[in-house]
Amino acid sequence: MTHTSNTAMAEPRDESLPWADEDAKRPVKVSIRHLYKIFGDDPKAALEKVREGMGKPELLEAENHVLGLSDINVDIRDGEITVIMGLSGSGKSTLIRHLNRLIEPTAGEILFNGDDILNWNEGQLRELRRKNMSMVFQKFALLPHRTVTENAAMALHTRGFARSEYEEEATRWLDRVGLGGYGEQYPHQLSGGMQQRVGIARALASNSEIMLMDEAFSALDPLIRTDMQDLLLELQAELHKTVVFITHDLDEALKLADHLVILKDGAVVQQGEPQHILLNPNDPYIEDFVADINRARVLRVRSVMTRGKPSGEDFAGDVDQNENLESVIARAEGAMDKRYRVTRDGKPVGTLDMKAIMKALVPRKVEG
């Protein structure tokens, strides 16, 4: 975690302090503006009702239209992993398919580098899908009649490269995701986890700056899922792609997200820096969500420390701001009365009271 989004952080910042620069916003790559999607025979008419304030259940009851997405506004920043989380039926898979227009919206804008892709013609859209956005699917969706290498090179092959031209590139990415030597196999000969590695290699080999990952790891068993998450973070540290990741798993979301968007019934409930959402849930729905999380493992020192130049001498030691609370508790051996000096790249940036840790471990209730 090298940077955070400060949009959701309420407290004022002292720009002169060393941590200020890490919060510099990256440029927006894709911007979703007032996006609506309504499924049914006459979505335009239903849209008016929704804009007048009709909710999802009433719309289904009265108009027999399904409100898929309602007034979505999300900025997807360059080089960040934006995780969209929600339970099934919350519209997250519908949302990600709007980004490359596999689904047409009812209303709204999708700005790619500032240009509304909804005005693009078929040819422009095809170029976008071939060169700028690649996709990884929950059910892998590999071509069963093509070899692993041919699958990995699907984007390049589609662009018209011959085998001799794409083979090296495809093999390089297969090696990178740990599938060296499997190039001549067929997808059905591989396990689920390996098939998804092919899916990731396929997305990477297209050399697109944006990767859309639709519940990419949901079909895998837990251990392999953890492996794949680590692989993704490792690749991300190296490649700095703009990743949009869909999941229904909060642990996965918290592990991967730079920016977390929580969807419920087709609307954004809360979005922001994941640590912030965890500490300041603004909705009982999110509270329920975060209640079962191992907070000590997810929360990091920087989220609970007291910012400002450390004063006094009674520190039990130094901790890095990106350590999680679990490791600090382990170091304190459970003692409640210790204070630590928090450092970032070796420089002191704040103080951490063990009491603050204990307070942070108890989920906060939303008032009212």
Binding site: N100, L102, L125, R126, E127, L128, R129, R130, M133, S134, M135, F137, K139, F140, A141, L142, L143, P144, H145, M154, A155, T158, R159, Y186, H188, Q189, R202, S206, L212
Partner: protein
């Protein structure tokens, strides 16, 4: 007097009914009725005839009889026959040539060339020595009882007809799979082709073409046998995994790339199953087509029926069974080979 006289009187249509009456000769039934007197008019409710064309005609001669319908169809068909011929004749002429050439090729080439070529084709599509051996035994058996010539004629007809079925049927199936409206329009036609008794195809065809022309039976066989390959191509392409199609879209494939790179290869097992069924159905039709001069084993079956030659009929019948088994094994084995190399499911 007829049963429905009262009806027309009540409706005031009597004058219209009698307009052209009594111009034709009296029918036998009418004469009989006359000799019996007017008793026939007192019909009880139990015997009330259905108000069919014939029954109504008795009461009102302005209404046509049912036989006018069949006659009308016939004269109508004869009326458009020449126009139809102008269109269909040149279109179907290549079929005649193909059938003639194939028959000539397979019967005139010596057996010691034809049989090895057939074995080679079998090996090429199945890659299985077991199947090649099986085909060798089957063909050897037929040749041994002197049915080689007829078997080759039947095979030649089936090869040509199945080839034309695939040539026309696969594109029709693909078009259907991409267009719901076309599918709704074509499926009833396929249903009709499949359920219409095969003899019925022959009747209009006999009117259209001379019985000496091979295309007469060629068209009959193709109409009957094309159904499964169309249906299964349509089905096969529609059954291709939606996720894979979505991936193809997401990576920016054009419709053409999607069709040839994804849909057809993944639908191939289903299409091949359709080809297998098409071959089997053309084999079934080839017997019926012998009524209109299709050569081959069917002719012998027909002779068996006509002359009550039990042995001739049975041997030829078993010959057809042997051919059917052989063709089925070969197409199934090649289907399995496609399936295995793709292992899509």
């Amino acid at each position: 007097m007829a049963t429905y006289d009262g009806l027309f009187d009540a409706l005031g249509l009597r004058a219209w009914c009698d307009q052209g009456a009594d111009s034709g000769p009296m029918s036998m039934a009418d004469l009989l009725a006359k000799t019996k007197g007017d008793k026939a008019a007192e019909i009880s409710a139990w015997d009330l005839p259905f108000p069919s064309l014939d029954a109504l005609h008795k009461a009102c001669s302005a209404i046509p009889q049912s036989r006018d319908l069949t006659q009308g169809l016939e004269t109508g068909f004869l009326g458009i026959r020449d126009a139809l011929r102008v269109v269909i004749d040149p279109l179907s002429q290549p079929l005649s040539w193909m059938l003639q050439d194939m028959l000539w090729l397979m019967t005139q080439t010596p057996w010691w060339i034809v049989m090895p070529v057939l074995f080679a084709i079998t090996w090429f599509v199945t890659r299985s020595w077991k199947i090649v051996g099986f085909i060798a035994v089957m063909l050897g058996l037929l040749a041994f009882v002197d049915h080689y010539h007829e078997a080759m004629q039947t095979l030649a007809i089936i090869f040509v007809c199945a080839f034309v079925c695939v040539l026309l049927g696969v594109p029709i199936g693909i078009a259907m799979s991409r267009n719901d409206k076309l599918q709704r329009f074509v499926i009833p036609i396929l249903d009709m082709l499949q359920t219409l008794p095969p003899f019925v195809y022959l009747i209009p065809l006999i009117f259209l073409f001379s019985v000496t022309e091979p295309k007469l039976y060629g068209i009959a066989i193709i109409l009957y046998a094309i159904v499964p390959v169309v249906r299964l191509t349509d089905l096969g392409i529609r059954l291709v995994d939606k996720d894979v199609i979505e991936a193809a879209d997401a990576f920016g494939m054009t419709n053409r790339q999607k069709l040839f790179g994804v849909q057809i290869p993944l639908a191939l097992p289903n299409i091949m199953a359709g080809v297998n069924q098409t071959i089997m159905m053309s084999l079934a039709m080839v017997v019926i087509a012998s009524l209109v001069s299709a050569p081959g084993l069917g002719v012998l079956v027909l002779r068996g029926i006509r002359n009550l030659e039990l042995g001739v009929g049975l041997v030829a019948g078993f010959g057809i069974v042997v051919l059917a088994i052989a063709l089925d094994r070969v197409t199934k084995a090649s289907l399995a080979r496609i399936d295995a190399s793709q292992a899509s499911r």
